[in-house]
């Protein structure tokens, strides 16, 4: 078989039943994998700067929380009505814990929490509040904005879709 013939066969294969079945299986696998298990998304907004940048591309990997709970400092995706639009946030407290911000510093159950990922100055003040049962408390890494303009708070665990792949 000549090289020319091989290239032609690669790009224009003969439509044998085996080939059609193989292509259908690959298409089905890709649909299920990228539609439900590893959902591609683009980052829009600056609430996770400098960890994640506006315009970045990533994948939401859905398996990590199938058998375990989100931990503090995990970056998670929080869904709205479905998986087409999600929020990318960091877990700072879990159910039953008390969250508070004093002069931009995070306190959980009265203890200050080190946050090496927060690099921009922050002056937030938020009175203590209890994270409700079956909820987690999420905040973005970019707190260099008025607290009123930042989308954060507690979300029910069933809204956590997964984690970004990188």
């Amino acid at each position: 078989m000549t090289v020319h013939h091989k290239i032609r066969k690669f790009f224009f294969p003969s439509l044998t039943p085996k080939f059609v079945i193989r292509v259908s299986l690959i298409a089905l696998f890709a649909y299920l994998f990228f539609g439900y298990l590893c959902i591609p998304f683009t980052i829009q907004g600056i609430s996770m700067e400098p960890t994640y940048h506006h315009g970045g591309v990533n994948f939401c990997w859905r398996l990590p929380y199938l058998f375990s709970e989100p931990k503090r400092h995990d970056v998670v995706t929080v869904r709205f009505a479905g998986s087409k639009v999600m929020l990318l946030k960091r877990v700072v407290a879990r159910e039953g814990e008390q969250v508070e911000f004093r002069d931009g510093r995070l306190f959980v159950d009265g203890k200050e929490i080190e946050e090496p990922y927060v690099l921009y100055p922050c002056d937030w003040n938020l009175p203590p509040r209890q994270v409700e049962e079956d909820h987690i408390y999420v905040v973005g890494d970019n707190r260099n904005m008025p607290i009123e303009n930042h989308h954060f708070g507690q979300a029910t665990k069933n809204r956590i879709m997964g984690v970004p792949l990188w």
Partner: protein
Amino acid sequence: MVKIKYLLIGVPMVIIGIVVAITLIPSEEKRVKKQFHLLSEWVSKSPEENPFTMLQRMKDIGSLFDAQCELKVPDQSLSGTYTREEISTYAGSARSHASQLDLKFYDLQIVFPGKEVAKVTVTARLTGRTTAGEQMDETRELECLLKKIENKWLFSQIEAVEVLKK
């Protein structure tokens, strides 16, 4: 071999037939989706929109709502029951403050709790620019109730769901 050939021709034909039937027969679900499509089209605004189109759009938006519609969007100071005309006026006023608007709906989940009632959970994303040049980017999960009145699905209740509770 002959059987496989028949199968390879027959199965896609049946699938195409089902898809065509689903596409052509207007179901109630499709008619509800169309109302969201119209709302998205009429709320959206291009920078070149002339005043006549703007007035027409105001009227059009009103026609999608029931005579009395309950709105519960606390962070937009919209809480209570509004008439179709009030909603038209509010939409017109809000649109006049924007030079460009784009409303999109994602992840529509439609259920029919009654014969003439549809409950829709949806993610709404409004992006654009104000006349002052500021960027707008708002995302909300909405729970909408539509009622079938005179063979038309009309919005009778819209409530914003709090995804993250501060």
